[in-house]
């Protein structure tokens, strides 16, 4: 089942799970995703070739979407 995970002070928090066949769970997850973007998080999907892709809308069939904070030069 696809998961929406946020990297945070607790290590990570699973915010939502959804099924591509269940529109209700997906819409709830998409709403949670948008709320986190509004808080300044960035959404990422890991790709099979080792890269990651930044997304601004929740992909329906990505196995895991990770929310991260911005990075900055130290």
């Amino acid at each position: 089942m696809p998961k929406l995970i946020r990297l945070d002070q607790t290590g990570h928090t699973m915010l939502a799970e959804w099924s591509a066949d269940d529109q209700t769970t997906f819409e709830a997850a998409a709403a949670a995703f948008r709320a986190q973007l509004d808080r300044g998080y960035f959404g990422l999907v890991s790709l099979s070739d080792g890269r990651a892709e930044q997304v601004t809308e929740l992909p329906v069939d990505a196995p895991m979407v990770i929310l991260r904070r911005p990075i900055a030069g130290g």
């Binding site: 290590g11 080792g50 930044q54 997304v55 601004t56 990505a62 911005p70 990075i71």
Partner: protein, 226 residues
């Protein structure tokens, strides 16, 4: 920043959005990175050569000026070492606190990386990641790029902006940003040192030397470049 539709119904962004926070920096590419390394070398030479030459000149003048000459030569030796020490600083981490949060962060980090990277992290605390630009070592507040061939390193200061994040979580932030856009990552990060791999190795903690050895070996052999 342009966008492209992706198959899964989401909308993917091209480039690291953090670049918007440093708009005065041109987006890095291979040529810019090589030039940055060359600037570091020229800067070192500009410091070291005149001081060394002056030191040698004083040593030829007699025993009393030779003392001044020795001091100058020591100074010329110390300058690159100090910069290398600054470079090594990007890999220094707080000792991870054994906590539930750290454990959870470590589990997720482990899921994101290969068996090889998990092994290196277990032994050294650093994540080894193969990229387009070379082989990366990621710590909680910085990253080292070992350029192809393994002879030059680039040490970047860069960290996640959230407070109170576990160490492994901070590394995961850097890893994901790097995987998202390697050139953007280099653009956003601050270059703290670039120079010879051997010079950096001497300033590292023993476990980090081992990680650098692994990264250098991979960079020499060209293993796993994307």
């Amino acid at each position: 920043m342009s966008t492209t539709a992706i198959d899964r119904g989401g909308v993917a962004l091209e480039g690291l959005p953090e670049h918007a926070n440093v708009p005065w920096r041109p987006r890095a590419d291979e040529a810019a990175i090589i030039q940055a390394g060359q600037r570091w070398t020229r800067s070192m030479l500009a410091h070291v050569v005149p001081i060394s030459a002056t030191g040698l000149f004083f040593m030829l003048l007699g025993p009393v000026p030779a003392v001044v000459g020795l001091i100058l030569l020591a100074h010329a030796w110390a300058i690159p070492e100090l910069y290398a020490n600054r470079g090594a600083g990007v890999l220094r981490s707080r000792r991870p606190v054994a906590s539930t949060a750290e454990g959870r962060a470590l589990l997720l980090l482990g899921d994101l990386v290969s068996d090889e990277a998990r092994r290196v992290h277990g032994e050294t605390g650093l994540i080894l990641e193969h990229g387009k630009l070379g082989v990366w070592l990621l710590a909680e507040a910085g990253a080292v790029l070992v350029a192809p061939g393994g002879r030059r390193v680039f040490c970047y200061c860069v960290k996640a902006t959230g407070r109170d994040l576990p160490t492994s979580d901070r590394i995961a932030h850097l890893l994901l940003a790097l995987r998202c856009d390697e050139y953007g990552f280099v653009t956003v990060a601050n270059l703290g040192f670039s120079g010879a791999t051997w010079r950096l190795r001497r300033r590292l903690a023993p476990e980090h030397r081992e990680a650098l050895r692994e990264a250098t070996r991979a960079a020499v052999q060209g293993l796993g470049y994307r």
